[in-house]
Each structure stands twice: as C-alpha cells, then as structure tokens.
Amino acid sequence: MTDTGIGARVARKEDQRFIMGKGRYVDDIHLPRETYAYFLRSPHAHAKIDAIDTRAAQAAPGVLAVLTGEDAAADKIGGLICGWMIHSMDGSPMRAGPHPVLAQGKVRYVGDHVAVVVAETLAQAKSAAELIDVSYTELDPVVDPADAPGGKSLVHDGIERNTVFEWSLGNKDATDAEFAKAAHVTKLEFRNNRLIPNAIEPRAAIGAYDPAEEHFTLYTTSQNPHVARLVISAFVGIAPEHKLRVIAPDVGGGFGSKIFIYAEEVVCLWASKRIGGRPVRWTAERSESFLCDAHGRDHVTTAELACDRDGKIRALRAHTIANMGAYLSTFASSVPTYLYATLLSGQYDIPQIYCEVDAVYTNTAPVDAYRGAGRPEATYVVERLVETAARELKIDPAEFRRRNFITQFPHQTPVIMAYDAGDYHASLNRALELADFNGFAARKAESSRRGKLRGIGYSTYIEACGIAPSAAVGSLGCGVGLWESAEVRVNPVGTVEVLTGSHSHGQGHETTFAQLVSDRLGIALDQVSIVHGDTDKVQFGMGTYGSRSGAVGMSAIAKALDKIEAKARKVAAHVMEAAEGDIEFRNGSFTVKGTDRKMGFGEVALAAYVAHKFPTSEIEPGLKEGAFHDPTNFTFPAGCHICELEVDPETGVVTIAKWTAVDDFGTLINPLIVEGQVHGGIAQGVGQALTEGAIYDEESGQLITGSYMDYCMPRASDLPSFTLGFVETRCPSNPLGMKGCGEAGAIAAPAAVMNALTDALGVRDLPMPATPQVVWEVASARQAAE
C-alpha cells in the first residue's frame, strides 16, 4: 500500500488536460482533406418512401456524394444488429425487424436516416440536403407502447401485433398461489418514464478509408470500441477486423447511449470509401441527439406485492410492456429482461416472484440501456411497492424493510441471482443516522408552520453489476462474452503502461487503474500510463458499461500484475543469486530474506530487458504480461438512499432538502471518484423523478421534448449537496473485492424521491416526472378537500 494506492483519495491524473482545454474529443480531431456528412432525416414517424430524387442535391456546389438506402443495399452494407437473443415463453426467438443504416422503403421514426450528403463543407452538405426530394406516403404511427399490440399499423411488416417477444421469468403457479392466500395485496400501475441520456458531448464519427491498404479507421464517441469494430466487421461487413481500426479518444459522457453501434458510424466509413478515401466527418447537433440517440426506460408496468398480516412479503408479480422503439438497438432486448426481472427480489427474502415482459415496437427512437438499464426500473417496482405496502399495513417503512431483509449469504433468489455478500441492516441504519431521521418530525412541523409539506422516502436498492460469467450470460442469450482483458507493459526503466479493454468517458480510469499499479508495484502514480480506446493498441476488450470496469477490468489488471510480480521475482532471484523462495517484494523493492541484498522494481525491470544475468532458455527476456478475467458471478452493490423534500403547495415546486446515501460498493479504490459517481447518478435519478421525460405526440409521433427548452435537465439549483456514507462488505467473486459504483445513484434515486413526495402529499402514487404542474394539481386537490 502506498499513499497513492488502493483507498487513496487522490485527485485525478486526467484532469490536467481537461481543465486546460486540451481534451481530445472526436470533434476536435481533423484529418487532411476531410469532408462533411449531413444526414437527411425523416420528418414522419411512419411513412412509406415512394421515391427519392437526389439529382439536384448531387449537382449542388461542393457535393461529393448523396447516398441512400438503395446505394447501401447495392454495396451490400449490412444492417445493425441486436446482440442479445431473447426467447418468448412459447420458445420462439425474438422477432427483430431489419435495421438498415439508411432507410429502405420505409421510415419508422422521426429522425430515421433517409439519406446522407457528403460535401466539402458542412454548410454545403446542409444546403444540398434541402434539395433532396423524397415522396412519402404517410402511415398511421404506433406511439403508445400499451396500444402497440392492437395498433392500427405494423412498424415492421410481418411482425404481428408489433411484438418482439413475450417473455417471462419465475414460477407463475407458485406465485399466483401465494397471492391467492395472501392477507394483504398491494397493487400499483405506473409508467417508468422515457428518458433521453443527453451526454453533453454529442455523438460524433470520422470515417477514413485508405485505398492503398484497403484499411478503414473510425474515430467515434464509443464506450466500447472493440465491440463496435466486431459488429461493424462481422455483421455490417464494412471490412474484416484487421482492416478496421476503431479509436474512441476522450469521450464526453455516455451513460449507456454510446455503447451502441449507430448508423452514422457505419455511413461515415462507407461514404469515405465511396468518395475515394477522403475522410468523412459528422457531429450530431443536439436536436439530432434528442431524436436519434437511443433513449432509456419506458416501461408500462402493473406490479403487486403479497404480504402476510405482520408485513412479511410472500410474493411479487409484475407485468411490463417494454417499449423498444422502432428498431432493436444493440443490447435493447437484455434491458427489460435479464437486467430487470432478475432484480425484482430487491434486498428482500421473497419466496416467489413472477414477471412477464412484452417487448413492443413503436414508431419512436430505439430504446436501450441508459444508466442503470433495467435495474432502476426493477428498483422502482420493488421500492414503491414496499413503501406503499408498509403504509397500507401501518408499519414503519424502515421496520417493514427490516422484517424482510436478506441476512444470510449466499442467498438464491427465485429470479436467477445468487447474492454473494451484503449487510442491508447496516446501510439502512447508517443512512437513518446520517439523515437525522429522529429530527424529521420536528423539521416537518417547522415546514408546516411555513405552509410547506415535508416528506421523507427511502430506497433500499440492489443492483447486479459486472455482468458475468461469460458462460452464464451466453446461456441467457448474450452474443458476446463479458470478460475483460489487460496487458501490463513494464518499460526497462520501470515505468508502466497498462492497456485495458475498459473505456473511460468520465469515470477516471487513468487514475484508479494507476492506483492499483501503484499499490501493487510500489511505484508513483506518474510512473504509470493507462492506455485505452484504440483497437490498434489494445488487443481486445468489452468496454465500459454496467459498472463493470472496476470489478471486471481492474481484476484483469490485477491478474496481469500477479504475473509481472511472479516473473520479476524470478529475475531478481537470478540477479541477486538467491533462491526464488527467498525473494520478498514489498513497497517496490525486492529483497533476499535475511540479507541486506535489495533491488528496486526499476532495477529488476532493467535486468529483465538486458537479460545478462539469467538463462534465457528458462526465462524469456522482457517484462510484459497479459490477462483475461472472467468473473465467477455478478457483483451486488446495494445501499440505502433517503430523500427528504419539501413541497410548496402554492406553486407545486419540490425542493430536495436533504439527500443521504449509504452505499456498499465493496472495496473503494478512490473514494473521491466513487463519491462523484454517486452524485452524478443521484442527479440523473432525481431528473427522472422530477423533471425529465421524453414525450411523443400521440397523433403524429413527433418528439415534443426535442431541445433543452422542452426536456428539462436537472440544473445546479434543482439539487442539494449530498450526504454520503459507505459500508463495506467485500465482493467474494473478484480479487479486489469491488462491486461497482457507476449506476447506484440512478437506480436508487427515483423511488426515494417518489416515496418522499407521496409521503409529503399524503397520496398513494404520482406519475414521473412529478413536475410542478403534476404536484400542484395534487396539492390543490388535497387542500380543496381539507
């Protein structure tokens, strides 16, 4: 352990370039002879394309190419795929409609890609796009997911009832039997509102084809460049993997939305080849981000909880209609299934659980993973049900939770997961203490004297992160393995480069990963570089999402470091003429037990490279090791968030007075960074509960919330400072004991807010987002009734 090792609260290494304005994002990169792409997008939610006349656009100044879906088909450019196969209850495979990179015959949502113009300047490309003449025959759009199965038209011809799959998990008969004999049943119906991720860096891509080498390079805003390369090679067919390099440099936030492989990335590559190899660049305008980035959530759910008289939960059942949008995005099918229903046990010992999910197509943007991905939806179901049941049974909500907490580990839930470690009483108790729960009644009375309504709400959430092992996810339908790779290269002077398949887009890997190296090798942080985001440098990797980079990515690095240490010991033993078993390694020095013989890590590295003092027939020269790590289980971060808020009944404005979060993420590498992850997650969860919601016009399918004037992002004045605490139970399924922290806040927060708000208003339920208008209407009705 060093003062920059595991557990050290060190400032981030990568910040230097960002605070100086020297970050290198895709749109900052310029290549010689580059050209600009502009996409003509569908103005209709659902329409048949009768004809596209591009002649005038082709002839416009500066235009190099105008390409449509017909051109893509002629060039045998494949469509985009969904990489997780889900089977319906009847055993049939999910029905995935084609997802062409440019529309073929039909457009399926407002913003769907119709054509691309490539020109010398962006202004020329835009002007030319206005000259493209598209004849459409409008069709009835399918907008409301609940109506999709009986909808007036089909989003994809031949996919009846607009249904992708009808899936279930759990034992229906046993669950129904518990409900039939339950003393108390709590039922809620709600919509988990649709969200737009809104990373502040818009998506961007630069495609560059080198005709001499028949080689492509793609610069893209990706959370997983190797997966992008795999899909674009193997399914889209742009080029074999060794002829395609994908670079994801600094990426300005992702939150899931930059996991997926998008049409624009493919089109920029293909168009570059079409125009003879000049690079083609594209950067989304914010309105394009709203229309075309994959959205999140959008579940319509009915959920029930069966309890006995003294508040012991007997069973939970849920039915969810999951809106997939117009096309199945890269991992869309996994989100409302294995990332959702498997978490419906929450932190509770629930004997029976049954969940049905109908995934449907609508004429809206594709929906896929967004921070938390399925787990916020599950937590919302469980925590709203639990809080409501406690109130109905007149049991204190904290006490109700305590009566049902899982306390023995490992714990097998009825929905696949085997929780490995946790202490849910500890996080609840600590949170109540930090939140000064005992003072709440006095604070509520004080609010009341000012004419305000005060409420408090809990969310004792659980999530599953570091999705693995590969064989298990494969058996559930995942098309890839979910391991991670690492390579540790020690230079002859003892400095270290770590190549990782994880990708940092705000998470601080350049610091936390270096802390692990510093901890293990006893060298300073500035002696370590973390390399990621380039398929030519890093051999392969699965990228960053699902809070996996610590638990899976760092575990791979730890494994590689084990190998480095093992080899360095051999080298040191030869150089110091000692038995390998007598070599000790501590604080960056190799010593021979019981002697004063000593070599620094750098000296051993140099000895490994000059290779003068050991038999190279037994020990290869050099010091470089790689590792792939496949975890033995998911990890299970959990905790308790408490929201205390105040409502102004005159205006409907909700002010969050106090936010307390106590999380168990296992081992913390850098508490400063972990806290930042929690803060950001809470803000997104509060956004879901109070301000954010993507709304499509029911008649036309137009996105009404298409700008920051209409889609309300949380601002600094909407949020308080947060009070954080931690409990730590080590995760047993990885060498570092880490669980992951990236999504917790977004998972926990919506239920905490809505539990607090319903408490303040004395109502059973409210829709999200609970905007001032929604709250004002409820508060006014309540006051009128009083």
């Binding site: 290198r24 936030g253 705000g506």
Partner: protein, 154 residues
C-alpha cells in the same frame, strides 16, 4: 469574405469569416482552440462559454464578425506562464469534473461569477448562477464546492 480581427488569449488574430460564422466555430476551426465545446448549439448548455471583454458569453450565439476588436479569453488562455488559474486548480482538487466536456464552460462561467459576485460565494449563489450551464456527470455537488474554493483563492 470579411476579415475579422480580435485579441484571443492575449494574441492578436485575424481571419476570413462568412457572415454566418459563429464565434465558437472561428475559435475551434480556424484558431484550433478546441477547448471551447459545442454541447447544444442552442445556447442552453453553456459548454461554449468564453469571456468577451471580461464577460461570460456563450460563443455559439455570437457571430465571429461581431467580435472585431474584442478581447476574447478561452479556457486555453486562463493559465499564465504555465501556472494554472486558481479556478482550474480548484476543479481538479475538488473533483469538479468527470468527462470534462462541460468543464471549460463551467470554469469560464465561474471566473465571470467571481468578477461579478466577489470571492465569497454562498452555495445558493453558485447554484443560482450556474443556471446557464448543464453538467450531466457530477450532479453539480463538486462543481459547487470547486467554485466556492476557487473563488476564495482568486
């Protein structure tokens, strides 16, 4: 095309601009000062904030041609002689950034905030003054702390 001349980060610069060229595009594409970011192109997110004659302005809403003779400061111009500005230091020390994309705009807004509101800023003041800057990563918690700390050291 008209020629515009201005002072950017203390250096006199000039360039040919179309009438429609935005200041942010002039900075990014002609001067290669890519620290100023475009996050929304509708002047709501604040990632493009720069100082024009000492006042924070969203450079996606200003025509380059209208900046003739102006003194423009971008994020690249804050550090002096290799020494970071106190506000830059504070953002690093307090983990006031994650992905870094909104950060230049946040820092420029913060510098402007101090020049208008002084070095002793309450949490409430900072949160209110950040109305025009959106961050999706940090939940603002550490940005607020950083600005308060940076202000006190300016």
């Amino acid at each position: 095309m008209p020629v515009v001349a201005m002072t950017v980060n203390g250096s006199k610069v000039s360039g040919d601009v179309e009438g429609r060229t935005l200041l942010v595009d002039f900075l990014r594409n002609q001067l290669n000062l890519t620290g100023t970011h475009v996050g929304c192109d509708t002047s709501q997110c604040g990632a493009c904030t720069v100082l024009i004659d000492g006042r924070a302005v969203k450079s996606c809403t200003v025509l380059a041609a209208s900046c003739g003779g102006a003194e423009v400061t971008t994020i690249e111009g804050l550090a002096r002689n290799g020494k970071l500005h106190p506000m830059q230091e504070a953002f690093r020390e307090h983990h006031g950034l994650q992905c870094g994309f909104c950060t230049p705009g946040m820092i420029m807004t913060a510098v402007d905030m101090v020049s208008r509101k002084g070095k002793s800023l309450s949490e409430e003041t900072v949160r209110h003054e950040l109305e025009g800057n959106i961050c999706r990563c940090t939940g603002y918690h550490n940005i607020v702390k950083a600005i308060q700390a940076g202000a006190s050291r300016m």
